[in-house]
């Protein structure tokens, strides 16, 4: 390694106090400057941070945005979500491929460009989209590719691609993104003009116990998908004896088709930070972390500035709003491309500078979380609701929604609909009403809750969106009647295979087998027994997996089998004469033919014709 690179690595480690717990930050800095973290870099980082090279390699190889091979100066990551595919991402990919002379996954010979596919980047309402280094480019077409590359070659600066910026804070000088918010339907709780600080002020008038009681009485449930009662989570953390406690905001929304947190982070960061501060006050935390997904790095400078502003306004730091006994500050932790880090214990592992693998439970994070301290992990939307509950009252919040699901829900709607974007709806709304609002008259199937949710058909459009019926973290993807539902299920299975951390056997291996079983059916080689195979395997994966990813990964297959039985039954056939449908004699012979360099006289009836 040359001296310059070594100096750079030493600087990166020194910037974070040679602290192995800040490994993510160190690796980001090294990856940014050197465009890779190779074996030598790993060894140096390990020696400086007092860890082992293989541990550093373990972290580097876990996150999609880190690489041990040199990436191009400009890395183009094309979003490969199914919504992007339907919007023409493949043609865009081919245009990039042709113009750069490289295939996805490759780096150009001169080291100028890398081309890659990446899972959903949270821009389904403006697909096809891509990340060019940290810059988000939306509404791509093959025609735009040439001019994009011309600009990049000339300026070497992806920021130069941004002509007109998007609406709202997207045009803020520290964001300057072409991203659009697409807020289609404001609502009473989150997408309002409320002053976020009133909630914080109101909370500080109460005792921490009273704040927790308020949140409990509001019946607020976590908006990340699992729906755990927020107040109960806080009480558990507050009641665990400890010297320190932590509040972490989960801003790692990675569920394919969701982008609501992106809009809250852009438009309502103060509401979120006020919510985190209230949580900290309630549970007795002095430190907070905003875990921001790597895909949203374009928002980082803006969010840092907001935090700084809050420190200056005495809304963060020592003696918040004159309360000498209350000190709290927030740092931002960048993720680096790993869906699993949306799972709270994986997110904590990642914050600690480790591989983003889930932890054993018990103990739960509220008992022993970040660095072993009691930790509250709530998502962006949940913490934003907190500010408003404290401002308005638990009763006000509970008056909206259904008995088991109070308040409103932000939905990210995309796919085959006229008005993709963000909708704030009251819990209990039916799917039909949502589709009506979004202009998805021709919807034949919708994904409720993203890959880990349910894919439902027309017969289910009367169902209600709430924890008692169809729960959703907020991703609604519409498919019209021209789409192949099995292709959608297969896409989501590929997503889970890609994003499984691989810690436990059923999730690491079982999902691959599920996908292969589905492929067999899609090829028309399936038999009725294959449906039982899929069901039984799904059952094992759900029952034995270690975390939520494996508990939900069979959902795309199970829900399509449940709601689209005719599609499956049209694809599977009973074979007469005991022949296995999945067995293709011609395919089975291929390898032998190649070895023998001749065809079979018996099993190749067209032998004579083809010679």
């Amino acid at each position: 390694m040359d001296n310059d690179n070594a100096t750079l690595i030493k600087q990166a480690c020194a910037d974070y106090g040679n602290d192995p717990r800040r490994m993510m930050d160190i690796l980001w800095q090294v990856q940014d400057r050197l465009r890779c973290i190779d074996g030598e870099a790993m060894s140096l980082i390990a020696s400086l941070t007092g860890t082992y090279r293989v541990e550093v390699e373990g972290v580097v190889s876990f996150y999609a945005f880190f690489s041990d091979k040199r990436k191009g100066d400009i890395t183009i990551r094309l979003c490969d979500d199914i919504v992007d595919r339907h919007a023409g991402a493949q043609a865009v990919a081919e245009a990039f491929s042709d113009a750069l002379g490289i295939q996805p996954g490759e780096t150009s010979a001169d080291g100028g460009f890398s081309l890659e596919f990446t899972p959903c980047i949270g821009m389904c309402d403006q697909a096809p989209a891509a990340l060019i280094n940290d810059v988000v480019v939306t509404r791509l077409t093959p025609a735009k590719v040439k001019s994009i590359l011309r600009t990049l070659r000339k300026t070497k600066d992806p920021q130069a691609l941004i002509g007109q910026t998007g609406d709202g804070a997207n045009s803020h000088p520290l964001v300057k993104a072409m991203v659009r918010n697409n807020i289609r339907q404001p609502g009473p709780v989150l997408l309002t003009d409320a002053n976020p600080e009133q909630g914080l002020q109101a909370a500080l008038q109460l005792s921490p116990q009273e704040v927790i009681t308020q949140i409990e009485e509001s019946l607020l449930r976590g908006r990340g998908g699992a729906g755990f009662p927020t107040g109960r989570k806080w009480r558990l953390a507050a009641n665990t004896p400890a010297e320190e406690r932590y509040v972490i905001c989960n801003a790692d929304e990675g569920e394919p088709g969701t982008f609501k947190d992106r809009v809250l982070l852009t438009e309502k960061p103060d509401m979120l930070f006020a919510g985190m501060t209230i949580a900290a006050y309630a549970v007795g935390a002095r430190h907070g972390i905003l875990y921001l997904r790597g895909e949203y790095r374009y928002l980082r400078a803006y969010l840092e500035a907001k935090l700084q502003q809050r420190r200056e306004q005495n809304l963060l730091g020592a003696g918040i709003l004159g309360r000498d006994d209350f000190t709290f500050d927030i740092r931002i932790q960048m993720g680096a491309g790993a869906y699993i880090c949306g799972e709270e214990s994986s997110l904590i592992s990642s914050c600690e500078g480790k591989r983003g693998e889930p932890k054993n439970r018990p103990p739960f994070p509220v008992q022993s979380g970040y660095l072993g301290y009691p930790t509250v992990v709530n998502n962006v939307e949940t913490l934003s609701c907190v500010s408003r509950i404290m401002e308005q009252s638990a009763h006000w919040f509970r008056a909206m929604g259904t008995t088991g699901s109070s308040g409103t829900k932000l939905l990210s709607i995309s796919g085959d609909c006229a008005r993709p974007g963000i909708y704030e709806v009251v819990f209990g709304v039916t799917l039909a009403e949502i589709l009506q609002q979004a202009g998805a008259q021709d919807a034949a199937a919708i994904v409720v809750g993203g890959a880990s949710g349910q894919i439902v058909g027309r017969t289910e459009f009367h169902r209600r969106l709430c924890f008692e019926d169809l729960a959703s973290a907020g991703a609604i993807v519409c498919f019209n009647s021209s789409r192949n539902i099995l292709e959608a299920a297969a896409y989501y299975m590929d997503f889970f295979i890609e994003e499984s951390c691989g810690y436990c056997t059923p999730c690491r291996v079982g999902n691959v087998f599920l996908k292969k079983g589905l492929e067999k059916i899609m090829l028309g080689e399936g038999e009725p027994e294959d449906l039982d195979y899929l069901r039984n395997l799904s059952d094992t994966i759900i029952a034995t997996s270690r975390c939520g990813l494996g508990h939900t990964s069979p959902n795309p297959i199970l829900s399509t089998m449940k709601y689209f039985p005719l599609v499956y039954s049209a694809m599977v056939k009973e074979r007469p004469g005991g022949m296995q449908a999945g067995f293709n004699i011609q395919k089975a012979l291929d390898e032998a033919r190649i070895i023998a360099k001749r065809r079979s006289l018996i099993y190749d009836p067209a032998y004579g014709d083809k010679e």
Binding site: V54, T540, A543
Partner: protein, 252 residues
């Protein structure tokens, strides 16, 4: 020190001490819960999931689940054994497990577990047939990760017992594998005398001690005469016979 308490497993009462996992308590009582990634002396990690049991109707890994007073545990039931069979099969199909030519045959815990669970033939799962390079760089040790089941026992043994950190997981998902703390094993400070390289640690034939292969003749190998888990069941106060599943009873 708080006092001992009781819970039931398959209807039988087990006495546990505070702080014990379900697995610890059952081991002491002579009730065997199948496991691959867990081994006595190492911190449990709950990754293979073969020790899955049902506790009050919910599935959990017995090696990491704390024992609690009064819980009702299901271990040797058709459903739970079915899950285990699926998991063991997944491991067989994920790697290359060619028992007839593997030097670990007869002392391989994966193979022994398959026999114990009544797996005697192919399943519907596809074979992934990985092609991973063999690291034979070290003078005394070779690594054939095609046979690795990612139990991580070598990682914990090297880190917690030897204090060396020779191994760690790298990659993720189906590409996850065991990495070594250098370009290859020869460049690490691995020694044949490390606990991590001992026969007890690697449950399969992935860590290979050179020039020692096939050291025990057929008939005298570890699992030739007694099934895996027998030594735990031998602790049982009533010495119940080991229950092996007849392959003909096996559910598909």
């Amino acid at each position: 020190m708080s006092t001992e308490f009781e819970f039931t497993i398959d209807g039988e009462t087990v006495v546990a001490k505070p702080g014990q996992t379900l697995m610890d308590a059952c081991d002491d009582a002579g009730v065997y819960i199948p496991r691959l990634c867990d081994v006595e002396g190492l911190v449990p990690q709950g990754s293979c999931r073969v020790c899955t049991v049902k506790v009050n109707g919910r599935t959990v890994a017995a090696c990491t689940q704390p024992a609690e007073p009064g819980v009702v545990v299901e271990n040797d039931t058709p459903q739970v054994q079915g899950y285990r069979r699926d998991l063991v099969r997944m491991l067989f199909h994920e790697g290359n497990h060619l028992c007839p030519i593997c030097e670990a045959s007869g002392r391989c815990e994966l193979q022994a577990m398959a026999y114990r669970l009544g797996i005697s033939q192919d399943s519907l799962y596809p074979y992934l047939q990985p092609v991973r390079p063999v690291d034979a760089s070290h003078p005394d040790i070779a690594l054939d990760t095609n046979r690795c089941i990612l139990c991580g026992r070598c990682i914990r043994a090297s880190r917690d017992v030897d204090g060396k950190n020779i191994f760690e997981y790298v990659g993720r998902g189906i590409h996850k594998r065991i990495g070594v703390n250098a370009e290859n094993l020869a460049a690490t400070d691995a020694s044949i005398d490390d606990y991590a390289m001992s026969l007890e640690v690697c449950p399969v034939g992935c860590i290979i001690r050179k020039r020692e292969g096939f050291f025990a003749p057929i008939g005298q190998r570890q699992f030739d005469n007694k099934p895996i888990g027998w030594e735990i069941e031998a602790r049982h106060k009533n010495r119940i016979a080991v229950h092996q599943i007849d392959p003909s009873e096996e559910q598909s």
